[in-house]
Amino acid sequence: MVIRLIKYEAIGMQYGQNVILKNINLTINDGELFVLVGPSGSGKTTLLRMINRLIAPTTGNVYLNEKRVKDYDLRELRLHMGYVLQDSSLFPNLTVGENIAIQLEQQGVNKNDRRKRSMELLDQVGLPASDFIDRHPDELSGGQQQRVAIARSMATQPQLILMDESFSALDPVLRTQQQDLLLKLHRQSKTTVVFVTHDMQEALRLGDRIAVINDGQLQQVGTPNEILERPANQFVADFFATARPRLGTMTALLSSKLVQKTPVADQSAVVTTVAELASLTPDTTGWLCFQYQGQGFRIQTTDLLHYLGQREER
């Protein structure tokens, strides 16, 4: 059963004469990695910040588990959400460990438990805990800082993490690494993530589902494949047009060493394009099994993503 975790209902937002958002209706499901994508100024960040009430809509309501967000106790609401901004926004006066545990500190968790949790999280984001926990942010590289920021967002084991252009300031290599990390963590925790980006490649890589926003209006909501294959309108088609050829041809993919031949399995899906392959659901061990031109193949999801990521960089 799908829990309807976040629901935007008839959201409108207006600053004076300036219309930011118009009649947005949108549902984000439990455990989804949901991407809000659109050009800058489209209103996607405004939409995100309505969830933790940094911004209140002028009309309509945002629901969290069927309860309006404005009916929550503000501090409780925010304390149980993770938040990752574009810059890492680590607090420069606190150590890495203190940064990660800042929400726990506010919750009154004792020092030992906070430190233990920070160590766990550092391990999860791939930073050696004993080496990093007592450092200050200015001793970390940009990528490391962003990893710490992600660790911080998971400190309270939130049901929901909000990410606002979190990787946009990183260079392409680091960005891909962070995306991999996010996908891995998301697979492990199944926490709902709402991710805002202006980069359609990133949207396609990360999103279980994607909402395309332009000019304050919702253009289309769907899986990456749906959006690529059946764009709802000209804007969506144009916006993702550049993304399409970059996925490359199946022949190119098969000639890489990433794909293994397997006996043809009946239940595996038949694909004709890389985009279709990318939209398949992997099995529990991360394998994507598929048939192409009558032959059976399989590829690790991470390998496929890596392959696609490399293509992006060209």
Binding site: L74, D87, S89, F91, Q106
Partner: protein, 509 residues
């Protein structure tokens, strides 16, 4: 240099006390300024408008000259440490407020937003993030403020709050460089030292914690000590103050010795170098001091409203001063001492011998041989040289005006052969000068006597009796000698005073 070391050696305990007064006054001013400025900046950091207005206001206060501020405060809160503290706090607030305010406002808005989005409480945000991030800027504000306070605190001496300024004032007053160096040097040293200490404290979290612990201990300890000592001294001491200079200092020590000699249980507090005439007079009337020595001539010329010209007879002068003080201010003016400390003209002993000079009248015959070195005021006043000219038919060959302190050096160097001065100036003895007798009684008489409130005199008849023992005592020569011992030989005023009293059998040993 030897003079400086000498002064330091003889004045050690006074210097220590001045240093301590200076330090504690500055410390409290800084603490109070911090307690006002930092919370204010925290409160106003989110309201740009109010914050800027307060910033402007603090800036305006900064531009009021410190002396003027002290003057403005005297009618409101009197004299002593309180107005000095208020003035210093007013000065100290601005740099701390400005730095705290701009430090808090310059915290990256991204970080602010992150902290808000994490659901941190305002208090948590403030203590864990905003204040620590703004801390270096705040600390540098505190340092600026501290250095300013220590510097400005030298002015506290002007209103009787003591401190190192006392030495600066004395130094200027007596043209004594040793005092100036002690006052200015120590306050500069203090500022540097404290600033370095604050820098050390601000260098790391650990140092900061140490600093806070030490400051808290100092606060608690000091508060406790103050409470204990105020508990201890229930009986009100008799406060005797004196004007700037060695002579009043010697006199008030005599007063103290006389009082304590007759009543060993009496508590007497001395405030030497307390300020100028009008300042002491106001302090007396406001009950901030009980007694101070004042001159009869000064009373008639500056304190009471006397239409007639000052009599030339010392007894008449005293009588009129006493009557008018009682009438106008309800003050009691005890009997004066013997010596007169008024204007005089002095020549070198050799010059006097050569021309057989003993009286001012003798000068007329050698008008053309005289090069006079006068204080600019004296040279141009009716009761100075101008009046003197017609009274004694003088018309000196040449009159040079110069800083009062330089006159004696000029006559010692032979650049002039006659100077104006005061009859008890120690330089008379130092440079072997001859004071010429004012045989026409041109100069108004200046005789010193204890001045107090009539109510005080009534309440303390024993004190009046003790002080009256000095009446008609101390000759001009005695006073010159004592002034010489204190200002030139750097002996302690208390010792010099005590010796005189013992020698003249005014007190038992």
């Amino acid at each position: 240099m030897t003079e400086l070391l000498n002064t330091i050696a003889t004045q050690k305990s006074q210097i220590e006390q001045a240093l301590w007064e200076h330090l504690s006054l500055s410390f409290w001013a800084l603490v109070i300024a911090m307690l006002i400025a930092i919370p204010l900046a925290v409160l106003l950091k989110n309201s740009r408008h109010a914050g800027e207005i307060v910033l402007q206001l603090a800036g305006v206060m900064q531009t009021i000259p410190s002396l003027a501020l002290l003057g403005l405060l005297i009618p409101l809160v009197g004299i002593g440490s309180v107005p000095a503290l208020i003035a210093l706090v007013v000065y100290g607030i601005m740099p701390i407020y400005q730095n705290t305010y701009s430090g808090l406002r310059s915290v990256d808005p991204n970080l602010e937003e992150a902290a808000t989005a994490f659901g941190l409480s305002r208090w948590k945000k403030l203590t864990r993030l905003e204040l620590p991030m703004a801390l270096p800027v705040i600390l540098s504000g505190i340092r600026i403020s501290l250095v300013m306070i220590i510097g400005t605190a030298t002015l506290a001496a002007l209103i009787g709050a003591g401190g190192l300024g006392t030495y600066i004032m004395l130094g200027i007053n007596q043209n004594n460089n040793a005092y100036l160096i002690i006052g200015a040097g120590l306050s500069a040293l203090l500022a540097l030292l404290m600033s370095a200490l604050l820098k050390y404290v601000g260098a790391s979290k650990k140092h900061l914690k140490q600093g806070i612990v030490v400051a808290t201990l100092a606060l608690v300890g000091f508060g406790g000590w103050r409470g204990w000592s105020s508990f201890q001294s229930k009986s009100e001491p008799i406060v005797i103050a004196g004007k700037l200079g060695s002579e009043p200092d010697i006199l008030i020590h005599m007063y103290k010795d006389l009082i304590v000699n007759d009543d060993p249980h009496a508590k007497v507090e001395l405030k030497a170098n307390f300020g100028g005439t009008s300042f002491l007079f106001r302090a007396l009337r406001n009950d901030q001091i009980d007694i101070y020595p004042e001159f009869t001539g000064t009373v008639l010329q500056s304190l009471v409203h006397d239409q007639r010209s000052t009599p030339h007879d010392p007894v008449k002068t005293y009588q009129r001063a006493r009557r008018l003080l009682k009438q106008e201010y309800d003050l009691t003016y005890l009997k004066p001492m013997k010596y007169q400390n008024g204007y005089d003209l002095a020549v070198t002993a050799d010059f006097a011998k050569e021309h057989q000079l003993t009286r001012l009248s003798d000068l007329a015959k050698i008008n053309d041989q005289i090069t006079a070195g006068f204080d600019p005021d004296f040279a141009n006043q009716k009761d100075g040289y101008l009046g003197l000219k017609s009274a004694y038919s003088l018309n000196f060959n040449q009159v040079k005006t110069m800083e009062p302190a330089l006159r004696y050096q000029a006559i010692a160097a032979g650049r002039v052969n006659l100077v104006d001065g005061y009859t008890t100036d120690p330089q008379v003895r130092q440079y072997h000068l001859k004071v010429l007798k004012d045989d026409q009684h041109f100069f108004p008489p200046y005789q010193g006597a204890p001045l107090m409130k009539a109510s005080f005199a009534k309440k303390h008849p024993q004190v009046v009796k003790s002080l009256n023992k000095l009446a008609s005592k101390i000759t001009e020569k005695d006073m010159q000698e004592m002034n010489y011992q204190v200002t030139v030989q750097h002996r302690k005023a208390s010792q010099v005073a005590h010796e005189y009293l013992v020698e003249h059998h005014l007190i038992k040993k």
